[in-house]
Symmetry: C2
Subunit: 381 residues, 2 copies
Amino acid sequence: MRNDGHGERAGKGGDVTRPGPGSPLGLYRVLAPAGVLPQAAWRLDAGPELWPDEVRVRVERLNLDAASFRQLREATGGGAADMRAAVCQIVAERGKMQNPVTGSGGMLTGVVEEAGPGSPLGLAPGDRIATLVSLSLTPLVITDGLAGWDGRSEQVPCQGHAILFGRSIATVLPADLPGPLALAVLDVCGAPALTSRVVGQAALAAGPGAVGPVVAVLGAAGKSGSLSAAAARRAGAGRVIGVVPGDADAATLRAAGLADEVVITDARDPVALAGAVHGAGGPAAVTVVCVDVPGCEGSAVLATADGGTVIFFSMATSFTAAALGAEGVAADVTMLIGNGYVPGHARLALDLVRAEPGVRALFEARVSEGAPGGRRGKEEA
Amino acid sequence: MRNDGHGERAGKGGDVTRPGPGSPLGLYRVLAPAGVLPQAAWRLDAGPELWPDEVRVRVERLNLDAASFRQLREATGGGAADMRAAVCQIVAERGKMQNPVTGSGGMLTGVVEEAGPGSPLGLAPGDRIATLVSLSLTPLVITDGLAGWDGRSEQVPCQGHAILFGRSIATVLPADLPGPLALAVLDVCGAPALTSRVVGQAALAAGPGAVGPVVAVLGAAGKSGSLSAAAARRAGAGRVIGVVPGDADAATLRAAGLADEVVITDARDPVALAGAVHGAGGPAAVTVVCVDVPGCEGSAVLATADGGTVIFFSMATSFTAAALGAEGVAADVTMLIGNGYVPGHARLALDLVRAEPGVRALFEARVSEGAPGGRRGKEEA
């Protein structure tokens, strides 16, 4: 069987366009099982020839999500050779980097090699881009055995190629921001975009001249949390309450100046959290959950006013715990599954980092610490 | 240790009010672990003495959720004696009927025995009620060993008592509807209420004179699905598309007259489902997911128009699959976690059954079939 994703149609390694209109969802790339979307597929065709609406990217770096990275490290012991072999084997078998245990992927950066004539993404050869869809649905071939990776970081130097579909999302990396910083921002850019929309709607509903809505951000000193706090304020929040688990994060958040009130409490303790948020000017009209530990659903619901909204960004959110938890306390709150895609999300997040020195300083510290990726991975509390 | 939930404070079995203001969330009933909400607790104090804001109910019937029932049947083999022993042991150990494997519970019916002077629920001794919060957070004592249960139905005749907190939800059973019918309706009453709200908002946003929004209901021939379809039409839907998995459900749904279009397709097949909904007048402005099989997240997203809303009621919904799935196809859809509590939900659902002969006929057929409970359990596809 072919393990390199090329097969008999590889030809000269690209610039061969496949016939037909293609599928914006990448359905023709699904090898097994039949009929599912690429994310749900066990195996994708990662061959380099493009359908007319596809784009091929020369990969420079994979950014594994932290849940997957942790699982691989625990399963292999973490040695460089074993880590490389594990990732290469997954990609060879599946045609994508989707950890079969965690189901998760990550994102990648690279340079556009070829854009099909029907691609709607507006990319041109030579563009340096980051993908904003998960690696778990992105056809990928690795050609260097990951020789440049020491196995100790989620950031994986990588040679090979990846395919973007017509409906994939990618963004050109900004020239004015360091690559690792931009990557960290883009990884969580859905959070500030959706926060901005929801808070803006709440401010609009309150009417002109009214005090803006109270917004609580759980995990406000993290990457998605700090961006969400900044976005909330710009969207018209009357008060931003930042919730953090300890003194160090509180100091970070205060230094960044992103919250009107900083409270220290365990977000898994519903009574303590609700009390703290109420004491800081709550309950919240909008609560944003960016703490990636399980068990925060009840806390978020209790911290939110009747008629308010909880935005769950944390990938540790349990659908059942949220649904039955709100019902269990007769809380009339709207609960949103944080969609990682909102039109304009990349630009909004990058602009926040450019305009808000507090956000930028916080991100630079997080990036230099090597904190794990956020949205498509897991964010540390 | 006390296994009957009474202990040394039981006194004469009631009419002893505990001191203090009580806790509307039932926090004082949590024995272990400390500090969590009753639903997250391992063990509750189910003693009959009330805090001033509590209500004690003489239990008549437990309605186990289907996921829990199935697990118990598989674990015990399903014999009456073993099933009774299994449920009695859980309740004795935990002070509530929360299946430790599935985490789920069910609901109950009974007669109010005593209402504390500070109870806000408006209940009086003698009221025959159904609880609208999960058994997984309801203090419960069983006194008859479930002698009247044959172990073959989720409906469990039961003697004992249960406690309602200040913020628990319960409703007086209607005198004009058979008990099993009312119970089945109340079990899923959050679905039509939230559907009504979301569709009503979409109709309002479309403006006066505009054609109402297209609504797709996945699993429209089921209990929560049929109520949601009826609620959508009353809230101003311009077109209701009912999606069902096979011919029998299609016939049922057509006979009930609840959908403008009935389409037969597998809700787990995103391409087929999206194609069918588009062909029937979609994409949908609002998609309601009432099919309780895993793997419908991508389908629901693809069937929904940009700017539209997906309401996930199914307890089989995966938070991660929904979040990453929408992002993966660049779908700007709002995704709601179906909150089982919406003010007025019980009345709205019962009124729909009274007013819509199609809904009533469908429910009567489902109830006589012994179909498993919905919202707080699992609904069959």
